[in-house]
Amino acid sequence: MSAVLIGLSLLIVGGALGLLWWDQRRTVAPNDAARRAVRHAAYTSAVAVACLAGGLLASVGGQDSGVLTGMGRLVAVVPAAAGALFIVAHAIGDLTWPGPQGRQREADLEVRTVSEVTPTRLARWTWTMGTLLVVATVAFGLAASGPRTLSRVLEDGQTYTLGSFPGWWFGVPVLLSTIVVALACAATLWIIAARPAVTGTSADWDRWLRRRSARRVLRGSQLVACMTLAGMSLFAGTTVRSLGLGDPSGYLATPVIPGYVVVGNIISWLALAILAAGILVALVPVRDHAPDPEALVPSAERVAP
């Protein structure tokens, strides 16, 4: 099973790196500085993807080999930790962005804001997934009867308790790691907006390259949010369903409650849908080509003497 997972993960990583290479090859760069910037962005993303994949593969390998057995809290924060590595790699890449060369330099006096360089719909999706993760984690924590259990009261007053359920035992580290990833993501987007402009290119081309970097950061961030949300929900859905089905040993008189089973199934299916959506959003290319080099000459500009 783990060999299949590792193979699938390597396939996804290979696909992502291939997309990066193809994206770099097709990019229309108007000059050497632009080509250098595109190459820098591609290397940065390749290292970031390797960090993300390495973290996730280490988790799969750790669970398979038994190293992570009984360390559910650690497993729960692995996607966020891998995501934080991914974001930090991007931040380092943007902090070491190639600056202007030469003894005479020029800069545009226009203001660049984070919202200008961030793809709006992807940003909304990412923040929505992050918010959903927080809401779901809090809801699971409130619904839990113990740190990692869920209970149902039987007719005779006894309680039927099942674990593991993503209560506060898992919820607190997940919440903290989500906050760390969100802050790292916001900081990296700010770094992307403030990094040096590419010399000899138009404001449109420079903004396009920033938008592409921001898109990659957001894609990775939403992926880890979706993976964590899917994992927590799948975990919760399975427990709710089992609770509804009752005690299989027959020790306790626990009639089947169809409502629990249906809710558990819905949560589990939603988890799988969220995971699929996160992978799709992370991998599907978007139509945002570099501005045409023929149109890169600024229409009008003023430089003080």
């Binding site: 003894r103 800069a107 545009d108 006096l109 402009a197 009008a300 003023r302 430089v303 003497p305």
Partner: protein, 132 residues
Amino acid sequence: MSVHVRIDLDSPIPQYEQVRAQIAALVSAGDLDDGNRLPTVRALANDLGIAPGTIARAYQELEAAGLVVSRRRIGTLVTAPPRTLVTKAPRDAAAHLAALARVQGLTDQEAHDLLAAALLQHGRTTQPEVAQ
């Protein structure tokens, strides 16, 4: 219309002064209007590849001259001086000088030197003597 600043690292003029002078000129020429936002210190320093402190000093000098104002959470805003009748004649004369310099094929530096020389001469002849 995009507005640029340029710096020459080989120029004897300090970098902060180069930035300050160009932004002041753009404000005076009306290319930067009242309320326009300037880039953040870090962004402009990154774009020019110089230290943020250099840009911060240029912005401080501009603020001291009343050409910009820094506000927390908003950034640095241009506060262009009103184009009153008092400044109209000097503006027209400066525009005339610039046009003549172009016609005569003078470089920007030569035109600057001419103006600096005229100011120096005018200062020598009309500046009231400092009270003893």
